[in-house]
């Protein structure tokens, strides 16, 4: 994003990643409270929550279109909208931004559909690298039980568009297994902090705070986009 200067951003960007059903939103609520009690300004943002396209995504999920590239690009639009209109202004003002899912969710979902890692990463090339990515890791056995116990399995979380299994259950397990595998691979590649999401919520929260604590005190580092800026030669405005 050549028209942004990432170096002015003094806040911290913390992303919580993980598949469905790992309790991300609960932990984010608790983290926000904890940080605010300490006097930090906190802004939260979540996947598909942009004012611009959240409605469009809902409509798309109703079947207006189905191909994976359109979905990935729509997620990218959602992300870009939140990034430019929320995350960047908040970081500029020194807030701590807690992101419920980040670009890695899009990477994993696109990869299991396309088999290609490069394109989706290129699309998200404008994204800021978070100061910290916490990955709430779960195994597919536990995840399956949890999802069934709570809200049940739905079309998209089961990856039914991929036709991986004979029924909802089979499809869910295969799809989530692929996602977890890809998250594990990315954890290594991008240096996620891995937390075991099968432990009791209190313990997970404690572990998250231990990871976050040191980030709060370090001086603002030099930020770069995820992928090296390439386009500034001709257009600096």
């Amino acid at each position: 994003m050549p028209y942004l200067n990432p170096r002015e951003l003094t806040g911290k960007l913390i992303a919580i990643e993980g598949t469905d059903g790992v309790g991300r939103s609960t932990h984010l609520d608790w983290l926000q409270q904890w940080l605010e009690v300490q006097g930090y300004g906190v802004v939260t943002t979540g996947w598909t929550r942009s004012a611009l396209v959240s409605k469009t995504i809902e409509e798309a999920k109703q079947g207006n279109f189905i191909d994976h590239r359109s979905f990935s690009l729509l997620y990218a639009t959602d992300f870009a909208d939140r990034m430019e209109n929320l995350i960047v202004p908040a970081l500029r003002s020194g807030f701590i931004v807690l992101a419920d899912r980040y670009i890695y969710t899009a990477f994993a979902r696109d990869y299991v559909r396309s088999g290609d890692r490069q394109w989706i990463r290129d699309v998200f090339g404008f994204a800021l690298v978070p100061d910290l990515v916490c990955y709430l890791r779960i195994d597919v056995e536990t995840l399956t039980l949890r999802v069934l116990e709570s809200k049940g399995m739905n079309y998209w979380e089961s990856g039914l568009d991929l036709r991986l299994g004979a029924d909802l259950y089979d499809s869910f397990r295969k799809y989530q297994t692929l996602l977890i595998e890809e998250f594990d691979r990315m954890a290594e590649e991008f240096g996620f902090q891995i937390l075991d999401a099968r432990r009791p919520p209190d313990e997970i929260q404690e572990a998250l705070r231990v990871k976050i604590e040191p980030i709060l005190t370090v001086s603002p580092k030099t930020r770069e986009s995820l992928i090296a800026q390439t386009g500034n030669k001709r257009h600096s405005g």
Binding site: Y3, L52, E59, F65, D67, L73, T77, V123, T230
Partner: protein, 262 residues
């Protein structure tokens, strides 16, 4: 990388043909494409037509963004890419794979020119559209900015559209002046694209029939060796009658004309 999906880097492997036109508003590209379509259809080709920014979903979102004034160069670019990806999947690839002709009014080069002028990185937008099929023929209708403005003012539209004029960039309060400034920059980008992607430049100041003649010559050349495929019997009457050794009559033509209405 999946070997299955084609990319912009090489010619597509499909039996169909993709012909696209590019140019700024007022260059006359849509008129030329329409005339080309008539000509191809008169030759019994089944022609698919698709245009930029046509899906309801994206148009609605763009409207929402305009109201909130929250569209940025990146979100603007990604929205159009979403629309394109959906059309590429639904309307461009299937007929190409089936061996049919696809005509596109504007293609990815519109994004390459326009989004870059809006402020996104040229390399980035090219990567975003990397999955697009490379056209068999790409015409660029080159027109001086004053001619385009004249055509817009005297034509059916009294004023350029909001985004076509780049009004969101705040170049000028006056839509015409904003159009002039914005589209002039786009013209410069298009020249880069002509060199980069070998778009066929057309002198859009020449008369409509002259341009069309030139265009048809190029298309005829590109379609050499192309074997059209059809699924319906309606326009095969000549072959049908020949098989039964009945002399051709004007009646057969009457039937094709009626079918053409659909």
């Amino acid at each position: 990388m999946t070997a299955l999906s084609p990319t912009l880097d090489q010619p597509h492997p499909y039996p169909g043909k993709l012909i696209i036109v590019e140019g700024i508003d007022g260059s006359g590209k849509s008129t030329q494409l329409l005339l080309l379509k008539k000509w191809l259809e008169a030759q019994e080709h089944r022609v698919f037509f698709t245009e930029w920014n046509s899906s309801e979903l994206v148009r609605e979102t763009t409207r929402r963004g305009k109201k909130r004034r929250s569209l940025t160069p990146t979100t603007f670019s990604l929205l159009h890419a979403t629309d394109f990806a959906s059309r590429h999947f639904h309307h461009i690839l299937p007929p190409l794979k089936a061996g049919m002709l696809v005509l596109a009014d504007r293609y990815i080069y519109t994004a390459f020119a326009r989004d870059v002028v809006r402020g996104v990185a040229p390399e980035w937008v090219r990567k975003v559209y990397h999955f697009a099929v490379r056209p068999d023929l790409a015409f660029y209708f080159r027109v001086p900015i004053e001619v385009a403005i004249d055509r817009l003012l005297t034509g059916t539209r009294a004023q350029p559209k909001y985004y076509e004029a780049g009004m969101d960039l705040g170049l000028s309060e006056d839509p015409i002046e904003s159009f002039r400034l914005f589209q002039s920059r786009i013209l410069i980008e298009y020249e880069t694209l002509v060199r980069e992607y070998g778009l066929i430049p057309m002198d859009a100041t020449r008369s409509i029939p002259e341009q069309q003649e030139q265009m048809r010559a190029k298309v005829a050349q590109a379609l050499k060796g192309y074997r059209p495929k059809r699924g319906t019997h309606g326009r095969r009457t000549q072959i049908f009658w020949r098989r039964f050794a009945v002399p051709q009559s004007s009646g057969a033509h009457g039937q094709t004309d009626r079918d053409r209405g659909h």
